[in-house]
C-alpha cells in the first residue's frame, strides 16, 4: 500500500466498505487482567454509590477478592499449559501469554495482595475523633492543616479511592511484562504510572513531602515516558510496524519490503539505534537504574510507606519483565549493540546504589538506594542473555518483592508523635525495646544483603551464576564488590538496633492489626522458604523462562 492508496481510503469512505473482520480476542487468556480492571471499575462505582460508612469494608473485600480471582486465573492458565507448550500471542498480537508473562503476573498479584493488606491497616495511628485512620489523608484535595481538612478528619472521611487506584495500577503492571507490541507497552506503562503518581500524593502525615514526591515522580515520569514514546515512533518508522515480531524480523533481516519508502527506512540504522536507546531509557527509568534513578529516593521517602512498598516491589517486577521481553524478543539481533551499554548501566547502578546508600540517615531513603543497587544486580542477570539469565531474574524478582514489602511494612510500625520515625538515629536500641520487630527487620536486611539461608542469597547466587555463564564474569566481580559494600550498611542498621542504648525519647512500636501482621509474616516466610528450599521455585522459574515469539 503506498501513500496514494491510503489517501483513497479516506476519500472513498462514502462507499460501503468491504466487511471489516472483527478482531479475535481470547478473553479467557486475558482473564487475569480483565478481572482486575473490572474490579477497579466496580471500585469506582462503589465510591459513588456505597454509603461512606461501608466503603472501606467494601473496597478491601472487593480488592482482595479480585486479586484472588486473578491469581486463580493465572494458575489455571499455567496449569493449562499456556506457560510452556501452549504459549502463544493473544489479542491480535498485542499480548503474549507465555511462561515469563504468567510467572511475573503471578508474582505481581501475590506481592499486590500483601501490599494491599498494608494499605488497609487502621490500627497504627490512634483513632481521630473516634474514627479509625489509615495511612491516607482524610481528604486528599484539602489543603494540609486547613479548615477543610480539619472538618474532613472530624467527619471521619478516609481516602478509600486508594484501593481502585491500586487495582488500576496492578492491571497496568499485569499487562506491562506481557505486552507484545510497543503501543501496548506504552499504554500499560501509563495505566500503571498515573495511579501511582496519585497514590504518592495522599499521605495522612507529612503531606507536603508526599505531594512533593508526587510532583517529582509525575514530572520525571511524564518526561521519561515522552522519551519512550519518541523511541517507539522511531522504531515504528524503522520497521513500519510496532509489533515485536515484525521489528525483530526486520532487525535480523528476515522481513524485507518491496515498498520503496519502507525499504529505505529499514536500511536506516540511525532510526533503529536511536529509537531503541530511547525506549530503553524509558524502561530503565521505571526500573530505577543509574543514571535514571534520580526520582527514586525522593519518591520512596515522600510517598506513604504502604505505597512505597507496593511501588518498590510491583513496579520493579513489571518493568524488568518488559525489559527482558524487549531485549530477548525484539532485539536478539542487536545483542552486540545493547550489551556494552547495559554493562555500563549495570556497573554504575550496582556501585552507585550501594555507595550512596552508606551516607543515608533516613531508613526509607536507605531502602530506596538499596533498591537501586538491587536493580543493578538484576541487570547483571538480564545481561546474561541466556535462558538461565531469564529464570534467575524471574526468581530474584519474586524473592526481592516480598522482602521489600515486608521491610516497608516494618517501617510503618516504628512511630513517634509525628508519625513514622524514619530517621535512623531513632532506630537505635530498637532491639532492646521490641526484640521481635527488630529481629524481623534484621531478617529482611540480611536477605537484602544476600546472606545465606535467606532468599536474597539464592536470588543473588542464581543471577550471578547466570551472568558468569553468559560471559559477564567481570560484571559478577563488580556485583560481589557492590554486595559487600551494601552488606556494610545493612549490617550497620542491625548493629544500631541491637547494640546501642535506646534513647529516652525513642519511638514506640505500634501493635499492628492482623493485616500488617499477615504482610510481615508472609515476607518472613517467603524469605526463609526461598532461602532454605529454593529448588522448587528455581525449577518453576526455569520452566517459565521461554518467551513466545
Amino acid at each position: 500500500m503506498n501513500a496514494l492508496t491510503v489517501h483513497s481510503m479516506w476519500t472513498t469512505a462514502a462507499e460501503p466498505l468491504n466487511k471489516i473482520p472483527a478482531p479475535k480476542i481470547e478473553y479467557v487468556q486475558l482473564a487475569p487482567v480483565l478481572i482486575v480492571v473490572g474490579a477497579a471499575v466496580l471500585g469506582i462505582l462503589a465510591e459513588a454509590f456505597v454509603p461512606r460508612r461501608g466503603r472501606y469494608v467494601t473496597q478491601v473485600f472487593l480488592t482482595l477478592l479480585a486479586l484472588a480471582a486473578s491469581f486463580a486465573a493465572v494458575v489455571a492458565l499455567a496449569a493449562g499449559g499456556y506457560g510452556t507448550t501452549k504459549a502463544h500471542i493473544a489479542a491480535m498480537g498485542a499480548i503474549a501469554v507465555d511462561g515469563p508473562a504468567l510467572f511475573l503476573q503471578g508474582t505481581i498479584i501475590l506481592a499486590s495482595v500483601v501490599a494491599v493488606l498494608t494499605f488497609a491497616e487502621r490500627r497504627l495511628d490512634p483513632a481521630d475523633h473516634g474514627h479509625k485512620v489509615d495511612s491516607f489523608a482524610a481528604e486528599a484535595a484539602a489543603v494540609p492543616g486547613g479548615d477543610h481538612e480539619k472538618a474532613a478528619v472530624k467527619a471521619g472521611f478516609t481516602t478509600t479511592e486508594v484501593f481502585p487506584l491500586a487495582l488500576f495500577a496492578i492491571a497496568g503492571m499485569l499487562v506491562f511484562p506481557a505486552a507484545n507490541d510497543l503501543l501496548t507497552l506504552f499504554i500499560a506503562l501509563e495505566v500503571f504510572s498515573l495511579p501511582l503518581y496519585l497514590l504518592c500524593a495522599v499521605a495522612r502525615r507529612k503531606r507536603l513531602m508526599s505531594q512533593e514526591a508526587a510532583l517529582k515522580y509525575f514530572l520525571l515520569g511524564a518526561f521519561s515516558s515522552a522519551f519512550l514514546l519518541f523511541g517507539i515512533a522511531l522504531l515504528y518508522g524503522y520497521a513500519g510496524s510496532v509489533s515485536y515480531a515484525t521489528i525483530a524480523g526486520v532487525v535480523d533481516g528476515s522481513v524485507g519490503s518491496v515498498d520503496p519508502a519502507l525499504a529505505q527506512t529499514m536500511g536506516n540504522d540511525a532510526l533503529l539505534l536511536i529509537g531503541f536507546a530511547l525506549v530503553l531509557m524509558g524502561l530503565l527509568f521505571k526500573v530505577g537504574a543509574v543514571p535514571f534513578h534520580m526520582w527514586t529516593p525522593d519518591v520512596y521517602q515522600g510517598a506513604p510507606t504502604p505505597v512505597t512498598g507496593f511501588m518498590a516491589a510491583a513496579t520493579k517486577v513489571a518493568a524488568f519483565g518488559a525489559l527482558l521481553r524487549l531485549l530477548y524478543v525484539v532485539l536478539p539481533g542487536l545483542t552486540w549493540d545493547w550489551r556494552p551499554v547495559m554493562w555500563g548501566v549495570a556497573i554504575v547502578t550496582m556501585l552507585g546504589g550501594a555507595i550512596v546508600a552508606i551516607t543515608q540517615t533516613d531508613i526509607k531513603r536507605l531502602l530506596a538506594y538499596s533498591s537501586i543497587a538491587h536493580a543493578g544486580f538484576l541487570l547483571a542477570g538480564v545481561i546474561a542473555a541466556t535462558p538461565s539469565g531469564i529464570s534467575s531474574v524471574l526468581f530474584y524478582l519474586g524473592a526481592y518483592s516480598f522482602v521489600t514489602i515486608g521491610a516497608f511494612a516494618v517501617v510503618t510500625l516504628v512511630r513517634d508523635a509525628g508519625g513514622e520515625a524514619t530517621h535512623l538515629s531513632k532506630w537505635a536500641g530498637l532491639g532492646r525495646r521490641s526484640p521481635l520487630v527488630a529481629a524481623v527487620f534484621a531478617v529482611f536486611l540480611l536477605a537484602f544483603a544476600g546472606i545465606p539461608l535467606t532468599s536474597g542469597f539464592s536470588g543473588k547466587f542464581a543471577v550471578f551464576k547466570a551472568a558468569a555463564e553468559g560471559g559477564a564474569g567481570a560484571l559478577v566481580v563488580v556485583g560481589v564488590i557492590a554486595s559487600a559494600i551494601a552488606a556494610f550498611f545493612y549490617i550497620r542498621v542491625i548493629v544500631l538496633m541491637f547494640f546501642s542504648e535506646p534513647k529516652a525519647d525513642g519511638p514506640t512500636v505500634a501493635v499492628p492489626s492482623v493485616l500488617t501482621t499477615l504482610t510481615i509474616t508472609a515476607g518472613v516466610v517467603v524469605t526463609l522458604v526461598l532461602g532454605l528450599a529454593p529448588q522448587y521455585f528455581l525449577d518453576l522459574a526455569g520452566q517459565a523462562s521461554v518467551f513466545v515469539r
Binding site: G240, L262, P297
Partner: protein, 99 residues
C-alpha cells in the same frame, strides 16, 4: 513536499520540549513542555504513517492523545494541590527532601 522534513520538525519540537523541561522552573510550564514532546511524537507517528502507507501510526496518534489527556488530569490535580498548600508552583521550592 518531502515528508522527511516533518520528521526534522518533530525532532526539533521534541528537543525544544526536552530543553524546556530541563530549564523552566514553573511546574505548569514544565508540564506543557512534556505535552509538546508528546505532540512531537504524534507528528513523527503521522509522518511515518504517511511515508509507509499504513495507518498504524495514525491510530497510535489517537492513543497518544488520550494518554496525554489522562496525564493532564492527573498532572494538574497534583500541581494544583501542591500550589494550594505551598502557594507556589515552582519546582525549585519543592525541596523538603534533600540528601
Amino acid at each position: 513536499m518531502n515528508p522527511v522534513n516533518y520528521l526534522y520538525l518533530a525532532a526539533l519540537l521534541f528537543t525544544i520540549g526536552a530543553v524546556g523541561v530541563l530549564i523552566r522552573r514553573n511546574a505548569i510550564v514544565v508540564f506543557m513542555c512534556v505535552e509538546l514532546m508528546l505532540n512531537a511524537c504524534n507528528l513523527a507517528f503521522v509522518t511515518f504513517s504517511r511515508m509507509h502507507g499504513n495507518l498504524d501510526g495514525q491510530i497510535i496518534a489517537f492513543f497518544t492523545m488520550v494518554v496525554a489527556a489522562a496525564e493532564v488530569v492527573v498532572g494538574l490535580a497534583i500541581i494544583v494541590s501542591v500550589f494550594r498548600s505551598r502557594h507556589s508552583a515552582s519546582v525549585d521550592d519543592a525541596s523538603l527532601m534533600k540528601l
